[in-house]
Symmetry: C2
Subunit: 283 residues, 2 copies
DNA sequence: CAAAAAATGTTAAAAAATTACATTTTTCTT
DNA sequence: AAGAAAAATGTAATTTTTTAACATTTTTTG
């Protein structure tokens, strides 16, 4: 895909002159996209058609097309070496890598989402008598965040971090209640039990978890998020961000479904916070 | 930055013919980058120089340069119509918009980060006697998440959601303690007070907040995150994700600084969780 | 070592973009 | 509302850039 990687890979297959062109482009791709074929040929010390042939060898239509591809490879976020964090990375390097891989994960997650389920779940949430958000470990903070969001909607919403509290809360569920369970792996025993308890009490259980996991099998609806395996850091990173973004999607769907009047109400909630804040002109 | 956004923004300033060109490009940017100026002129039903003038109005050197910019805007996941969620959006539309704008915000945030400060803060954290994470509202869940991460590192780490608990905790601070305060606006009164109290007790205060805010002024170090203003949904969305990613960066820096032996320890922590999970083969 | 094949360069033609200028449309003034 | 000024748009010509066709050189192979 990425043409810069492609150049590096195919380097062996290039002819002598083509290699010269490749060198120059790899050395300074930013200059390359702003040069004409004549300039680039002179820099590489080859003829213009050679540059052109070089472009075609990389499956582009010609030099202008090649520049387009190159520009895309160079575009802002495109991590051209989106590799894992390395032992010896400088702060600059690991910062960029983490941001880049987070963005990449979001892209993957986005594509894995089943919009129909999103729609169905939004439906459920808008009609719910009570909404509960539960997660453990890293997913606890996601549930916590969901509480924050839905709390503003003025709907009965519940969140507990404690396993026992979660259990007790679920035992009191009834039809019309929605329980949202968040877990990256979907293998946390106590959460699976929560799902079972909730369903026994006629609640609808929505899982934000990976497909085909034990938890997923106990849910009424599963919002599965395909997130590339978290790095070797032994900490959930990207998965959590994807879950949060999905919560954002649900919250947004919720407000859209509720309509305009509802959003005015939301604005009022926000205005209420004003008293606890320093005015903007103070800053 | 993004030329597609620029087109949308400047739309009002365009002349009649230029608007025609803008329409065509926005409608199908992918086609535009593969068209010649003649083709595009014909599609827009204007003359070629008009297209050229259109390009120059957007601060590009000319048509080819414009195409380069356009190609970059279209590259990777870059949300090309990073528009706000609209009243009548379908689930598919708002889902994509939210993911795209989240990714875009991360990109902006990434570029706004001062790596030197990151490095300095990682330094501080690795040497801290005790680390506290505090936030309120939406930022509370970010602090919660930070707790989760740093807890695994086996360092004394503290997190409270309650304002009074936060205050009390800070009063017991001493030199060598690091207090990390998280707030998007940096205008929450009680958090600013926490910063003051902490500093009076010789703790080092790190703010994850917007630059030049009241909170920022009370901090020893400020990790400022430039995040495009959150949408009209009256909920913090993108800012929170950026904060979380920054926490990931800090946590990663932390483990890198601590070295290899330390990461083995981390693996052990992870393995401990195994007992509470269903085995993979069960799935 | 010679013949074939591949690679590279030279020159010329084609395509594309840009400039200069003419014409039309719009805006403002009286 | 008429006419002048300014802005916008288009036409035609020029320049730049890219590509094609062919010639030459280099490399490979029997």
């Amino acid at each position: 895909m990425n043409i810069l990687e492609k150049i590096t890979q195919n380097k062996a297959a290039f002819s002598k002159s083509e290699k010269k062109v490749a060198e120059i482009i790899l050395a300074n791709p930013q200059t390359a996209i702003h040069s004409s074929i004549a300039t680039l040929a002179k820099m590489s010390d080859v003829s213009e058609p050679t540059v052109n042939r070089f472009c075609r060898r990389l499956d582009t239509k010609g030099f202008p097309d090649f520049k387009l591809h190159l520009a895309q490879s160079l575009a802002n976020g495109t991590p051209y070496v989106n590799r894992h964090v390395d032992e010896n990375d400088s702060p600059d390097e690991y910062t960029n890598k983490i941001f880049e891989s987070t963005m990449a994960s979001l892209e993957v997650a986005r594509q894995s989402i089943d919009v129909n389920v999103v729609n169905r779940v939004v439906d459920l949430l808008t009609q719910a008598q009570k909404i509960s958000f539960f997660g453990l470990g890293a997913s606890a903070s996601v549930a916590h965040d969901a509480l924050n969001k839905f709390f503003r909607f003025n709907v009965p919403v519940v969140y507990f971090e404690d396993i026992l509290m979660q259990r007790m809360s679920c035992m009191n569920c009834s039809a019309g209640d929605v329980v949202v369970l968040i877990s990256h792996t979907g293998r946390t025993k106590s959460l699976v039990e929560i799902a079972q308890i909730s369903r026994m009490n006629d609640a609808t259980v929505v899982g934000i978890t990976s497909a085909d996991s034990p938890l997923a099998q106990e849910c009424s609806y599963v919002l599965s998020l395909e997130v590339p395996e978290d790095t070797d850091m032994y900490m959930p990173m990207a998965s959590r961000i994807a879950q949060l973004t999905l919560i954002d999607v649900l919250a947004t769907g919720f407000t859209l479904r509720r309509g305009n009047k509802f959003r005015e109400n939301l604005k009022r909630v926000k205005d209420t916070l004003r008293g606890s804040r320093y005015d903007k002109r103070d800053g």
